[in-house]
Symmetry: D2
Subunit: 340 residues, 4 copies
């Protein structure tokens, strides 16, 4: 399972919303496609917008101007979460194809409205679940589909961050289930190719009382049962002392596939007390470097060649539904039936 | 963390109840201790009893006779589950020290009665949770206690059998939670050094409909929250196509410790399509070979030297409480508060 | 130990000699540096030259014209081995900085003459020993220098190709020691930071009799003793059925460091008979992808910022001396004293 | 490839020569066979002999008495190297089967005389090359024979001790090639199933000048070419800071098999700076625990059931020939043709 990170043909002019860390990553990956031109950069931080624009020969404008320019074929939305829904709807209305970072919105109803807007406009809308484009994760998916382990029966996801974001961020994040586990919920749906019937979530605040004071938890244990009776367990923490830990394993009727961490180097050291290798890549920018490049290549191919996108706005809505159910399960201390 | 599998001093005469597979293992390990003499073998299957007795110069008798012999210092109970409680109580009444395979009994009240009988008799009663004596698992425990990963916060247990026992066995087993996960519940209590506050269990029958017809499941996903707010997830299946899979990992505030599978050899093969190593040891007799030897050495030391046993009848009762709670959680589809 | 694969400042116009596979790799990596402009492409295969030139907005010219253009700051020599020495000397005479693929030349005297020409011209001349820029190999070097394993004492290098090149190529290659092991000889000098005192090489033709008929071998076992008494063993084959195998390990007074292979993904599969992971990256273009990018970034930095290059023409000459000594040792069946 | 460490039938009375560390290991393993009776223990150290004899109900006698007792079926020779040849010859003359620790003798001619004596007497004589009985090594051999990697072409052996023995021992050891590499020479012959044509050995004294003063080296690099043109490299050191390192890998026309180290536990620790596992088993008694048990079981089976032994005195002589050739190669700085 490999992705080309450089596509051949087609061309499109792009408006990039958000010149922060992830905006710069996406812009850099877009620029590697000869047919992709970053025409506009939009950010309330004008200095950041100007710096990113300068790097790729783009112009800094307001959102209105970018969306009004008929030559712009796509919006790449990397701005703050509270702007996503608005930009999706306006981009759809303007007939632009859309790439939007997760989540669609923190409110399920608003996210669903966005999905309807996209559908009505008939534009491509891809949500940034980049993990599906990670070479290791994508290889597991392909090998399951090739029948290597028979019918998938259980999924165990380990998803641990190296450290919590500032409490100020957590307060506005929608909570750990919408902010962090939303990726794991998408992995669950993608890998098991099934939908949740029930969700049980437990959460605890073990690393920092300030997170508790902000109304959130930093450690979670989630169990999902699918409509076909399959089981999934997800364990997460905001703080793993050894770094960013991103693994899952799928047990099937004929075997198991594990997706492991990526290490910076393949050095192994033998000393008096231990045989040791590198800790995993530090955080998501390093761990998913290839995934981000593959994801944007996929988007570029989709919008220039009319292909279907692997991660649609419907996937964004479904992941959010699971995040909401998990949040309720944790708050109410009970199992939630999806659709109840 | 190592165990001697051969102890030095002391001597004791032993009555072995049950001459089946596990009885033969324990007898063989006992016989390696110069001070341990297998005096009697008791089994309803007289031929099996005779064969085992012949091997160690023991005599085949009825339980009454063995328990009436004042020279017998200990009962090693490896007979079928439905005889455990009775033999524990009678052995205690006769003043014999006791080693008993898990479970104490399938009924919690009866198990508690056994614990009271043991206490009143003042005898040693060790329950066969052999995993605590596995060199890898015991090393993890010792390293946690040495502070290597700070405060334990999460435990993820993977416990998968290579294949289900006959349905006839399953029908009388008390269900997967009492029969199979009881070991995992003991690992949970031992590793986290904490007690359960709530238990949630989901189960599914994915490998064989006959198990469903017998009123049981073959796949489970359990979440436990401890009194101190720690989280534990356990995933189990009756049938892993690649063999017996016995792993766990403990996330602490300062790092993580993983206990991995044991392989028959350290051969690695490189061929055109894969780099491959051995699958794990086939099943519990192979995987826990060292654990069984260490366990019996520990029991021998305890009864000859008066040491405390690592796995008491109280541990057996506690594990059973968790198994009952998990069974109820699965049946009722809800989170169970321990003690409710 | 990390390298930036994209440097900040400085600019240079470059003439690329050779539009084959490796020429295209270097051109692509050069083009990622905003300050690097590929001005000319030179190749006897005009179609290949034209295609590469078109990709980067360069012009196809003859060597004379490129070297006569005073605006050209550097020659990147990726043409066939028999043109290296000539192009190095002419580039040096024209005052161009030089990046040249290994080997400098198949004849030691000619290679030494090139080194003198470079010295007299005062230009940078970097030889393409890209392995020194591999993240794993470079990390080992840095950790040795940091003292992690004390004094290095032994080096064991495993260097195996997935398959032999065409016999026609082998016939003109200078033999396996100059064509293939020259990289390993450079690794030896770099990692042990020492020079050879004696060389012993054994060779055998085990994979294809046509290689024997061409006067060469396909399997070698080399032992080098350094001036300080350290030992190095190198084993190589032209054909490893499982792919490209590039490992080494350094034993020091205080421990050992191993540099392992790189895998395409981190998937591990458990099936009935084996636990398996990916075979190593297929061949040098995949295995050393990052190394090639780092190498060219290093060259770009050196020529634009005046830094010293890590792999000089003197290194190219030294590696060739070892290749000659190994060839003689194999042919004459005896130990060769370097300098004899 | 498995060995039973406990055989069923047959019986034999044994005289154990040497009550040191390895003598105690062999005695303990012998005693696990119901049919094996340790009748006599012989050692110049009478206290050690008495202690070992007491443990197994044996009698301490002089060699003469033991060999004169017609009921003794086998000599197990674990005494100091300078007594091996004499005890082999006397045991053969007395019609006893023989198990003898390596080496047969430090002098090749004497070893050959022993082989002739054994042949004339028609007794079994097994030499203690226990590595052939290691589960991992034996599995590699079996898988080669099953054709898993096609025709073996290259063998790379890594054989490193955790620390040098006392210089006083080294002085009488016959040198590193006869004392330490003799095991590796046996592995070479066994795994490649071929004989040496030429041997080249380099040696260096890098860990302790006292070893140099004793006329020996502590680090070696050996290359062997077989009669069929296959290549073997062996690297050894007397002191690896991380412990006892016993690995080899066999490259064949169809793949590669690696035999790796054995670890005390399967714990993996993740901390801020490294992912680490156990160092290998500490030294030969731990690393080859199973091998020693399997080896004695094999000897017991051979002498009680008339089977052929896997490691004959001819193997002992052949390994010694290689050790002599390697010693000469190192001393004379040249390649040695076997048989020259």
């Amino acid at each position: 399972m490999t992705f080309s990170s450089k596509s051949g043909s087609g061309s499109i002019d792009v408006a990039v919303f958000g010149a922060g860390r992830i905006g710069r990553i996406h812009a850099g990956n877009l620029a590697r496609h000869p047919g992709a031109k970053i025409k506009y950069v939009i950010d309330v931080n004008r200095a950041a917008a100007a710096e990113l624009a300068a790097q790729y020969g783009a112009t800094v404008v307001e959102a209105e101007a970018a969306l009004a320019d008929a030559s712009v074929g796509a919006s790449v939305i990397c701005s703050s979460t509270d702007t996503h829904a608005d930009l999706i709807e306006r981009s759809a209305a303007a007939g632009k194809h859309i790439f939007c970072e997760k989540p669609v919105d923190l409110e399920l109803e608003r996210a669903r409205a966005c999905a309807r807007a996209v559908e009505q406009a008939g534009v491509v809308c891809m949500i940034g679940f980049q993990r599906r484009f990670d070479p290791t994760f994508a290889a597991v998916k392909a090998r399951i589909e090739a029948g290597e382990i028979g019918t998938p029966e259980m999924l165990v996801v380990t998803s641990r961050d190296p450290g919590a974001p500032p409490v100020e961020y957590i307060r506005r994040s929608g909570g750990i289930f919408k902010d962090m586990l939303i990726h794991d919920f998408d992995i669950f749906r993608w890998i098991l190719d099934d939908e949740a019937l029930t969700v049980h979530a437990n959460g605890s605040c073990l690393t920092d009382p300030a997170i508790f004071d902000a109304g959130d938890v930093d450690s979670t244990a989630v169990t999902i049962r699918t409509k076909r009776g399959r089981l999934c367990q997800i364990n997460t923490t905001r703080r793993a002392a050894y770094g960013y830990d991103q693994r899952f394993e799928v047990l099937g009727s004929g075997g198991m596939l594990q997706a492991g961490n990526v290490r910076p180097t393949e050095v192994v050291a033998y000393t008096a007390n231990a045989v040791s290798s590198d800790v995993p890549e530090a955080f998501f920018l390093e761990r998913y470097r290839a995934a981000y490049a593959n994801e944007i290549a996929h988007f570029f191919d989709a919008v220039t060649q009319g292909a279907r996108v692997r991660t649609t706005i419907a996937d964004g809505v479904k992941a959010l539904e699971l995040a909401e159910a998990a949040t309720r399960s944790w708050r109410e201390g009970r199992v939630i039936n999806i659709g109840e």
